[in-house]
Symmetry: C2
Subunit: 338 residues, 2 copies
DNA sequence: CTGAAAGCGCTTACAG
DNA sequence: CTGAAAGCGCTTACAG
């Protein structure tokens, strides 16, 4: 809109479009004097080159697309922050799309990003995604694709993840070492790999310490919400009084549990200990503080961008490199809820 | 990358580029048979038109830029969610930038968005922004600009805001009606309008009910963080034992206050009542629940997009319309902290 | 050191 | 109903 072009500048300065373009891009074959003239004028009139026209030549949009399953989510916000910071450093901009854990939306959003000719796509798969056709579309077009956190074992793509199974094992092991024997699990939805892996880590820890697994002590949180945690804790207290600890797939259900227990004046951790997963900010703000597993969100975002970036360079050079899986460290954070 | 073009399709189908383009855009002057052929083939080869080339003709990027001062922030995430949902409905994509409350970053990001030729910019001003030159750049280029939440009274732009002064008044009035007389205020930084207005609302309420204002009971939270709230509450308890209520500029400092009071086993609200502002999710998850002012984030985002959209239509039609200020309703939410 | 020209992939007014 | 052609605003190989 009402933006100046190279042509306008060329006309005003009595130069060719070529020379103006070169001057602005600091080509060595333009005289210092001309460069100075052009630059001064461009500054004066606040010239901003048209990114679209440039793209048409260079075929690089300098934009990446990010699809996250939840926007108002401490962990994913942190990942996004990491991505955006790294992108900024490489002069990239980020189009953000929120799939709201919906497979249908996710498919549409992939299409939209492809149409936009983004230079790459970074995504975390929605809970309801059960099919990878849209993912294949991306890889077929030879566009770098990087998964973070919720990835797919079936697609051969670069990914930044944590070892959910080991982390969950450590969490449950900690509960056991605190003397807890009847440990319930609030698991996540059925499809996503991380909710499966955290469940498996729970089972493995029970196994390892010779504690019987009881499937009626596993409660499914499809929304991974505090409300679910609250409601399940109520039914635990009322129907399974022998349960002495809860390991939740994420902090939110754990916080719902703590809320209920606080209201009922049930002692945490003496009567029931509560363990979360993710280390949201809120985990340290409630009373008692929530023990949890720290998941390095910002670092994950940074790494995801870097994987994209090296992959893009490889493609440009025509190098076919192995896809990389980066596994980040997690820590057990012990607070007063265990 | 490796993307088909209209030319490729035209060649394969033995048609002209024109006809292919028209067929795909459902122009009336193309035969149904041809349209069908083109569409079927485009589908088969997964053709995605090049958005940049299209832009160069239409001068519409179908992208907006959003600058928010904080990313990992319940309220701003909600606004973003509202913006993105509305954008999606209008086939717009959203480039998100995080100014981290920094004036310098904000300036750079405005430049980057202008260079990208976004169709409009939606932003909330950083706490440290003390100058509007970058804002003027946007309006000079005749690009729609809409502020949300943190706006500037000095620039004539469309804005979606709340009445911070009235909302703060209602919050403090509620404390007074609960019998509180010695009410401290955790105020925000000096520059942003909303932190000024909330402070003014606090003063107005005191005035209105004949309570003396004491400036040593006002504590400045430059980061609007729980840590600041925690530390100030400690000094209140130790140095100003007569204080019986706290009104905080936002939920985070209020939650820090509650954390400290809980640790010290100081009764809330009997000894000290605590009032927040914004109604973050966490406000209802801590014990006691935090009384606060509900700020409709998602709705604010939706309205901001709509303001942008009507402004864009006006510009296209050459209509010069008044800038609009939309003021959204807030509610007093009473929980157990007051 | 400067500039004319081709071309990126579309859209659309115009001709037939 | 179909197509040749101009043009959006850049970049860059090439000529002078």
């Amino acid at each position: 809109m009402s933006n100046l072009t190279l042509k306008d500048i060329a006309k005003t300065l009595n130069l060719s479009i070529t020379t103006v373009s070169k001057a602005l891009k600091d080509y060595p074959d333009v005289s210092a004097k001309t460069k100075e003239r052009v630059r001064a004028y461009a500054e004066e009139v606040n010239f901003t080159p048209n990114a679209y026209a440039a793209f048409l030549r260079t075929q690089e949009s300098k934009i990446i697309g990010v699809i996250i399953p939840r926007l108002n989510h401490y962990f994913f916000s942190n990942v996004l922050k990491g991505i955006m910071k790294a992108a900024e450093e490489h002069s990239y901009m980020v189009i953000v799309l929120n799939s709201e854990e919906s497979y249908e939306l996710e498919q549409k959003q992939v299409d939209r990003l492809l149409r936009q000719n983004v230079d790459g796509i970074l995504m975390s798969i929605a809970d309801s995604t059960h099919d990878l056709e849209h993912i294949n579309k991306i890889t077929k077009q030879n566009i770098p694709l990087v998964f973070f956190d919720k990835y797919s074992k079936l697609s051969n793509c670069s990914s930044v993840i944590i070892n959910d199974q080991n982390a969950a094992f450590a969490a449950v092991e900690h509960l056991i070492k605190q003397g807890k024997k009847n440990i319930a699990h609030f698991r996540g939805p059925l499809l996503p790999q991380n909710s499966i892996d955290r469940f498996l880590g729970y089972r493995k820890a029970l196994d390892h310490y010779g504690i019987e697994y009881r499937k009626e002590w596993v409660f499914r949180c499809d929304d991974i919400s505090s409300d679910e945690g609250y409601a399940y804790t109520q039914s635990i207290v009322e129907e399974h009084p022998e349960i002495d600890a809860i390991f939740a797939v994420a902090d939110m259900p754990a916080i719902g549990a703590i809320k209920y227990l606080n209201e009922q004046k049930i002692e945490i951790p003496n009567q029931i200990a509560v363990m979360g997963f993710s280390n949201w900010k809120i985990a340290n703000l409630i009373t008692p503080g929530l023990s949890t597993i720290n998941q390095p969100g910002e670092l994950m975002g940074k790494k995801a961008f870097e994987l994209f970036y090296t992959e893009l360079q490889n493609i440009k050079k025509g190098v076919i490199a192995e896809k990389q899986i980066v596994e980040l460290e997690t820590d057990l954070i012990i607070r007063n809820s265990t």
